[in-house]
């Protein structure tokens, strides 16, 4: 059967078709990830909390809103570099940024945060003011900050917040709390103390009193505007970047974990990793298993006995405990995991290949070639190997899901490579931090589904290919 025919036959079977299309999809995703994500994504982003600081913590995906009666607020990030308007005031130029925000949710935002970065000034530090304009026409100043002045002995121009931008969580900021306190007293004639306001600033800023009790506020929907103004002292002073975050209770395609990490990104990055682990360890253990099997079956004698003894032992050890033990001793790294999976992965194949080779070596073709004086290596690899290749190929495919599941299990026990996110590690984080007991399903279900889909892809491929390469399994016509 030639290759094109074989492929057609695989595609014609249900599992084969499913397997091939799923594998195609996975490969496309993997290529996309390799093109778009930095290769050191794990270290530079995934395990770097600063990257995720502006994200809401442990919130479900955005699309869950369509299943709820009350929509949860989406996450909004406003960022400005060049000022939207520049005015001249008596004290100097005033740069301002205006961010319009249409608020429709029936819940208040989860937090408010502001970030200033790359401030540059010649002599005297600029003053940054942030105001909120509400749909009911009321406006209040929620934040006021004077950039840190010159240190002793330092000479201008002064650069501030370059390496470490200034980030302020307004929900707990003292000045903001005072501002809200005054606002409530002036506008609604409500006198609350700081403790009643602290941490719940968002509710008051984005709401109006419902009248039930003093502190009961219902969200006020409509068009808001966030106005950031930087009062400079000199021409040429600047604020390089302004960022205002209105924390949501839903985020992205897949939600976030308890550190605010975007789960969609982690899940995506794990696709090529899983394929890599599955394919590389299947390839290596198949290569070892096949060559040892051929050697054992064809050479016979002492080589055969030695290989059989070793494979008997390795095939009969409890794999997971030893995997745990060895990984624990050598320390978790992706290559170590693959290496150890390969060490325990080859014997089953060796035993099967050996019995096939014992059968093949007695056929007339091989005997004829031997009598022509072909070397042993030539017979093994040019004449025996091609005859068992189809079978080896099917086994190669069945090897991949086993490796992927093992890696996931090891990662779940906390033995994953910490520099590379995998689905098992995402699940481990969700389990260890108690996410599952809080019902954070978006943290638990998708990574598991990804594992199942990837493993299933290879299972289906194998099931589709097996009857093609193994004539005995071909279904006889009814």
């Amino acid at each position: 059967m030639n290759r094109a025919n074989a492929l057609r036959e695989v595609l014609r079977s249900g599992p084969g078709f499913g397997g091939v299309s799923l594998l195609g999809l996975l490969i496309v995703v993997a290529l996309y990830v390799l093109l778009v994500f930095p290769l050191d994504f794990g270290e530079s982003q995934w395990s770097n909390p600063i990257v995720w600081v502006d994200n809401p913590k442990a919130v479900p995906p955005v699309w869950t809103n369509s299943f709820r009666r009350e929509t949860r607020p989406p996450h909004r990030i406003f960022e400005g570099r060049e000022p939207h308007t520049e005015q001249m005031a008596r004290s100097g130029p005033v740069h301002s940024w205006r961010f319009p925000l249409t608020y429709t949710s029936s819940h208040p935002p989860t937090f408010l945060a502001v970030t200033l970065a790359d401030v540059r000034y010649e002599e005297r530090p600029p003053l940054v003011l942030i105001s909120l304009k509400r749909p009911d026409g009321k406006q209040l100043r929620i934040y006021r900050h004077t950039v840190r002045g010159p240190r002793e002995g330092e000479s201008g121009p002064f650069l501030r917040y370059g390496q470490t931008p200034l980030r302020v969580q307004l929900s707990t900021d003292e000045a903001t709390v005072t501002a809200v306190q005054n606002f409530l007293a002036d506008e609604f004639d409500l006198r609350l103390d700081g403790a009643q306001i602290g941490g719940r600033v968002d509710r008051f800023l984005f709401g109006f009193p419902s009248g039930d009790s003093e502190e009961a506020f219902v969200p006020l929907t409509g068009d808001y505007e966030i106005i950031v103004q930087a009062a400079m002292r000199e021409e040429g002073d600047s604020v390089g970047r302004v960022r205002f975050v209105v924390g949501g209770a839903v985020f992205g395609l897949m939600g976030t974990d308890s550190l605010g990490r975007d789960l969609a990104r982690g899940l995506l990055f794990a696709v090529p990793v899983a394929l890599f682990i599955g394919i590389i360890s299947a390839l290596m253990s198949t290569a070892i298993g096949t060559s040892l099997g051929i050697a054992s079956g064809y050479l016979g004698g002492r080589a055969d006995i030695t290989i059989q003894r070793i494979s008997d032992i390795v095939a009969n050890v409890p794999v997971l405990p030893l995997l745990i033990f060895m990984l624990f001793i050598v320390g978790p790294s992706l290559w170590m995991i693959i290496f150890i999976l390969v060490i325990f992965g080859w014997p089953g194949l060796t035993i099967q290949i050996r019995s096939m080779v014992l059968h093949v070596r007695t056929n007339q073709l091989v005997e004829a070639i031997q009598s022509l004086g072909a070397s042993r290596r030539r017979v093994m690899f040019r004449h025996i190997l091609p005859q068992i290749t189809p079978y080896v190929f099917a086994q190669l495919i069945f090897g991949a899901p086993a490796a992927i599941l093992s890696e996931a299990g090891l990662s779940f026990l906390g033995l994953g490579d910490p520099s590379i996110p995998t689905w098992g590690q995402i699940l481990e984080a969700g389990f260890r931090t108690g996410g599952i007991y809080l019902g954070y399903w978006w943290w638990i279900v998708p990574p598991g589904l990804c594992i199942v889909i990837t493993a299933l892809t290879f299972m289906l491929l194998g099931l589709g290919i097996e009857p093609v390469v193994n004539p005995r399994l071909r279904r006889s016509p009814p």
Partner: protein, 338 residues
């Protein structure tokens, strides 16, 4: 099988030696003994300098006695003996249920809990497998048959422990039907009967999880074995003799199929040792699997991990020995003679 046992033991011991781990265990033992002696000596020796001198001398004696002064490979036999008897000193942070920190106590008290979970799910899987498999063999090619073979294939692609997590998420957290983990409620019931039912309600989810992923393959393999035997001549003869169908099935098919069926089931049990490590972890079942997880968390408890790896190997080997003994009873052709 005994060979496997010794190879694993040797591997454990070699790794312990090569990584300097056996040195650390010994040093800890000596330190512990010295501490005990210091309190005893404090009764007689008042002078602190004198005391230090005596203790230093004693330390030297002990180090020579335990062989800490000789390279690790001279100590292989004694390290092997330590692993064999689980004499691995004290755990760093883990404690047994009544507060002991000896590795031996911590590990051995978990064995029955693990066995309880494993054997229960094994028996259920075996029953479902035998009943379902021999039934399916009579319905070859039906939609149910195709469904089960598909289900068996899918089972290999599903992480058992993730199914457990889903159960917790749905049944324990959302619907609040069953407890999400542990073996007993807090506080545990004291009366025997409520205590038993409490245990059952906690064991339900882990057992269902273990059974769910293993019964598909088990039914499928038993179906295939019975099908093969049902096509043999002696079965046709039995039918031709006019024996009742139930008798043919029980005496002529199942009896002959028993050895390979038992082999398959016990292999499955040995395989689910690995699965149970993760399932116990998920359900906080106080067995050896969960102990692995706890020992790996934070600052790892090395001694406990060594002990657990050893015990799991031991259990695995024992299951295989049971299998070989059972074979003699099940298959009259097998006899171990010299």
């Amino acid at each position: 099988m005994v060979g496997v046992f010794f190879v694993v033991l040797l591997m454990l011991v070699l790794t312990l030696g090569l990584t300097g781990f056996s040195d650390r265990i010994l040093a800890a033992t000596i330190g512990e003994q010295l501490r005990a002696e210091r309190t005893a000596l404090a009764e007689t020796i008042r002078d602190p300098d004198e005391m230090e001198k005596v203790l230093e001398k004693r330390r030297e004696e002990l180090e020579i006695f335990y062989g800490l002064r000789t390279p690790w490979y001279y100590r292989l036999p004694s390290t092997a003996l330590r692993v064999l008897t689980l004499d691995l000193g004290e755990a760093r942070s883990l404690r047994s249920f009544d507060g002991s920190n000896r590795v031996f106590d911590i590990v051995t008290e978990r064995v029955p809990n693990s066995m309880l979970l494993l054997t229960t799910s094994f028996i259920i899987t075996a029953i479902i497998g035998i009943v379902g498999g021999s039934y399916l063999a009579t319905r070859q090619g039906s939609w149910l048959d195709r469904f089960v073979s598909g289900f068996a294939a899918v089972s290999y692609a599903i992480p058992t422990w993730w199914i457990g997590i889903l159960f917790i998420l749905i049944l324990s957290i959302q619907l609040r039907i069953l407890p999400s983990g542990g073996m007993y409620s807090t506080p545990p019931p004291t009366e025997p009967l409520p205590r038993f039912f409490d245990l059952v309600s906690h064991a339900l989810l882990p057992v269902i999880t273990l059974v769910l992923v293993s019964f598909g393959p088990s039914i499928y393999s038993i179906r295939t074995i019975t099908l093969n035997i049902a096509q043999e001549d002696h079965v046709k003869i039995a039918r031709a003799k006019g024996l009742p169908e139930s008798r043919v099935r029980l005496r002529h098919i199942l009896r002959v199929a028993a050895p390979p069926i038992v082999t398959g089931l016990l292999f499955g049990l040995a395989g689910s040792l690995s699965g149970s490590i993760l399932v116990e972890t998920v359900f906080n079942w106080q067995g050896m699997g969960r102990l692995y997880y706890d020992a790996l968390a934070g600052t790892p408890d090395e001694n406990v991990i060594v002990a657990l790896t050893f015990i799991f190997t031991l259990m695995y080997v024992m299951i295989r020995i049971v299998l070989e003994v059972l074979y003699v009873f099940l298959d009259p052709r097998v006899r171990y003679t010299d």
